[in-house]
């Protein structure tokens, strides 16, 4: 598990797998509603002009997250 990092620090266009989602309350609910749950594969496909928020590609769609929200999501590199 030493390869784990928060999503904020993930590089663009690297395939990642979600290890855990630690967000509490409403934020956690919203993140999970979108299918960001442990095991899901995601790729950071872009960052806004001011580096925040980030655009995240899941298998079927793209969503955006603020860096402060990405902090709650721990990911690891997917081969």
């Amino acid at each position: 598990m030493d390869s784990c990092m928060t999503l904020r620090r993930a590089q663009v266009n690297k395939k990642l797998r979600i290890c855990s989602v630690g967000a509490p309350g409403e934020l956690g609910r919203r993140i999970r509603d979108m299918g960001l749950i442990p095991g899901a594969e995601v790729t950071v496909v872009g960052k806004a002009p001011l580096k925040d928020p980030v655009a995240l590609r899941l298998r079927d769609f793209t969503l955006t997250l603020r860096n402060s929200e990405a902090d709650h999501i721990v990911v690891e590199a997917a081969e």
Binding site: R29, R30, G35, P49, D60, L63
Partner: protein, 729 residues
């Protein structure tokens, strides 16, 4: 033999094509209302399934059925309280997994459910394959393929919903998913408790209540306490215990486990139903390629500035002509009434009160139609989501949301907008606190009706620097809006920012039909207001400026003076020469002075005079006070009222040169006062039309708050500015 009409609900995620399907199902037979208790729009319509007429209700677009957002609350309450005969869940089939998350939650409630696999054209284009028959078998819900924007599958989905509704005849059959070894035993225990205590009995399945307890749902918890405090206490203890256990053993929470298992259940279905293309997996979609340019670090903002600029110029360039038609039509109506009616109060009421007031509002209709047409187009393409994405970092500093940029721009972020469509455009914001802060500050922007005031003052006190003044005004308006937003978000609208978790839907071509329906709805809403509340306000303002009338003896002084001039004119006419221009001017001047005296005598005038002691620290005299009072109704009134108060007769807002001259000569009105007045007009209460629009979006409480708060703020700013610039001068 009239059978009772069945109600069909239309549920689905945002951006799944639900509204398009709703339009395709109901055509023009729809009407808009509000969900009880929330300010979310409720759309209803009729559709035919064969011979049977169905009521179709469009639920707000949601990702889930928790009770966090107003949309979710509205959707859930409809399912539980109104018990529709069947629900059509519109799924974006190109993104089936996430879309089934809502479907599964509806299935857990047990409502008869039909799945509309929408956007099947996109699915085929992306090379995916969906086994619809298998999906029906696995979920137990009839699934129908649709392409809403082409109207495909419209009849089939209605027929499926209708026959399911008849077959089930109001009976709910809830789905039971396993939530694993930690939660299942607790859920069983809870189910027994809920059933015995009768919590929400007959409305929802007992196991669902248990699930909501585990999810920490505040509204279900409250209803549990109301139904049976004792059972509720037991349920809460069970929840706390399992939450503690999960925290200790797995470092997670019940709601996270629930989401995991739900998605697990869905993944099991999707794995069998959807076949992804083997090679095309890595193909970069067109939409993603577009995003590489449109949200690029440098190109993105440039394109965005261009889009905003175009939206704006197009609106006003195209809107100008029809706008002048409407305004001309109203002034023609006013003029012909003037000619065909004897002078008197009734004529004045109709012409100066009703027609001027309502005409002023309706004059904006073409502008609003074009603005909303373009805005909806921008929204439907998916570009607005990108704008929010790019600008969020900036707006977040002030407690706002990336999407706040649109209402600001429309309200006059580029001088010349209108706060009414601006306020209405805040509807696109899905985060309630950010929406409220945006709505309350957007009216600071330099709307088209305020522009003449600034131009007139600039011409009077800063001749030659009008452009600089206008730029400074626009920038100050932005600064005021953003800073006040920050202030509000740290005081009355305090609270954590709403999560930005937001979908970036693929770029799509909007449908003309959808745009037209949307534009018409918004414009109609605006026109209806003009016919009712605005009419009343116009008449009220007219009355305040007309009554009490000038007393007879004062009137007689003017009559005598006019008679003397008239006598001179007549004697001139006898000589056969053209009457000298001075005499005509003198006559006009007397009438203008009479109007001034009449205005001063009226309630509004008395109020203006009475307020002089209050407004003296800001440098405003009674004339300015009356004009500002008129501005509560509509900002267009400010310049014309000021003209009357300065005895200039009728002043056109577009050509206020005489007024500028007059003001610059008036010793009781200094340059410092002009600065203070500019600040005051930027900040003070929004016009009555905007207030009504605000009340519609956020309730009367906030509309009245904005009226008083903005005026107080404007007063403080004006006094400070006046005093400081007087000291410096």
């Amino acid at each position: 033999m009239a059978t009772p009409k069945l109600t069909i609900g239309l549920a689905g995620n945002p951006n799944c094509g639900k509204t398009t399907l709703f339009n395709a199902l109901t055509g023009s037979h729809q009407h808009v209302g509000n969900w009880p208790g929330v300010t979310v729009e409720k759309k209803m319509g009729h559709a035919l399934a064969g011979e049977a007429e169905l009521d179709v209700v469009d639920l707000p677009g949601t990702y889930s059925l928790t009770a966090y957002s107003e949309e979710e609350k509205a959707a859930r309450n409809f399912l539980i309280e109104d018990r529709p005969a069947a629900v059509i869940d519109v799924l974006n089939a190109d993104c089936l997994e996430r879309n089934l998350y809502l479907a599964v939650q509806i299935m857990e409630l047990g409502v008869p459910l039909v799945l509309a696999l929408n956007m099947m054209d996109e699915v085929r284009k992306s090379g995916k394959d969906i086994d619809t028959a298998l999906l029906t078998r696995l979920t137990g819900c009839p699934a129908v393929e649709t392409v809403a924007r082409q109207g495909k599958g419209r009849r089939e989905i209605l027929a499926a919903a209708y026959s399911l509704a008849l077959m089930r005849a109001g009976e709910w059959t809830p789905l039971r998913i396993s939530y694993g070894p930690d939660l299942d035993p607790v859920l069983d225990e809870m189910e027994a408790i809920v059933e015995a205590a009768g919590i929400m009995a007959g409305k929802v399945p007992p196991r669902w209540v248990g699930l909501k307890y585990l999810e920490g749902d505040p509204s279900v918890t409250r209803r549990g306490r109301e139904a049976s405090p004792e059972a509720a206490a037991r349920l809460e203890t069970l929840t706390a215990k399992v939450a503690q256990h999960l925290k200790k053993t797995l470092n997670t929470s019940p709601d996270a486990i629930i989401a995991d298992y739900r998605y697990g259940y869905i993944a099991g279905i999707v794995k069998q139903v959807v076949r992804y293309p083997a090679i095309n997996q890595e193909r970069i979609r067109l939409s993603d390629r577009m995003d590489q340019v449109l949200t690029h670090q440098f190109a993105g903002p440039v394109v965005m500035a261009l889009v905003i600029y175009l939206l704006y110029t197009l609106t006003f360039a195209v809107g100008e002509l029809p706008m002048s038609w409407v305004q001309n039509a109203f002034s023609w109506l006013g003029d012909s009434l003037k000619e065909n009616m004897g002078e008197g109060l009734l004529r004045s009421l109709l012409v100066d009160g009703a027609i001027a007031g309502v005409g002023g509002v309706l004059g904006f209709v073409p502008l609003i139609m074009i603005m909303f047409f373009l805005l909806s187009a921008l929204e439907d393409t998916g570009y607005v989501a990108r704008m929010a994405y790019m600008l969020d970092r900036v707006f977040r500093i002030f407690g706002l949301h990336g999407t706040s940029v649109l209402p600001f721009i429309v309200s006059g972020g580029i001088a010349g907008g209108c706060a009414v469509p601006g306020v209405m455009a805040t509807r696109a914001l899905r985060s309630p606190k950010e929406k409220l802060a945006t709505l309350l500050t957007a009216p600071f922007m330099t709307c088209g009706a305020k522009v003449p005031v600034f131009l007139m003052l600039a011409a009077a006190f800063f001749p030659g620097h009008e452009a600089a003044v206008m730029s400074a005004v626009t920038l100050s308006a932005w600064a005021a809006a953003l800073l006040v937003a920050k202030l509000l978000r740290s005081t009355v609208v305090r609270g954590e920012s709403t999560p930005f978790v937001m979908e970036l839907p693929p770029y799509r071509m909007p449908t003309l039909r959808g745009l037209c329906i949307h534009t018409w709805e918004r414009s109609w809403e605006y026109m209806r207001k003009a016919g009712t509340i605005i009419l009343a306000i116009s008449v009220l303002i007219w009355a305040a400026m007309t009554f009490p009338a000038l007393p007879d003896d004062a009137n007689k002084v003017f009559d005598d003076r006019a008679m003397a001039v008239n006598a001179q004119l007549e004697s001139q006419a006898e000589t056969g020469e053209d009457p000298p221009a001075e005499l005509e001017d003198a006559l006009a001047r007397i009438e203008a002075e009479r109007s001034e005296a009449a205005l001063r005598t009226s309630f509004a005038g008395r109020a203006g005079v009475a307020m002089e002691s209050l407004t003296a620290p800001a440098g405003f005299n009674w004339r300015v006070n009356i004009a500002l009072l008129g501005g509560f109704a509509a900002k267009e009134v400010i310049v014309s009222t000021l003209g009357t108060a300065y005895s200039l007769g009728e002043i056109e807002a577009e050509d206020a040169a005489p007024l500028s001259e007059m003001l610059s000569k008036d010793e009781s009105f200094s340059k410092a006062a002009a600065l203070a007045l500019i600040a005051f007009v930027i900040l003070y209460a929004p016009c009555s039309v905007t207030i009504v629009a605000m009340a519609k979006e956020a309730g009367w409480r906030w509309a009245l708050f904005s009226m008083t708060f903005n005026t107080a703020l404007a007063y403080v700013a004006a006094v400070a500015l006046f005093q400081v610039s007087r000291l410096l001068a």
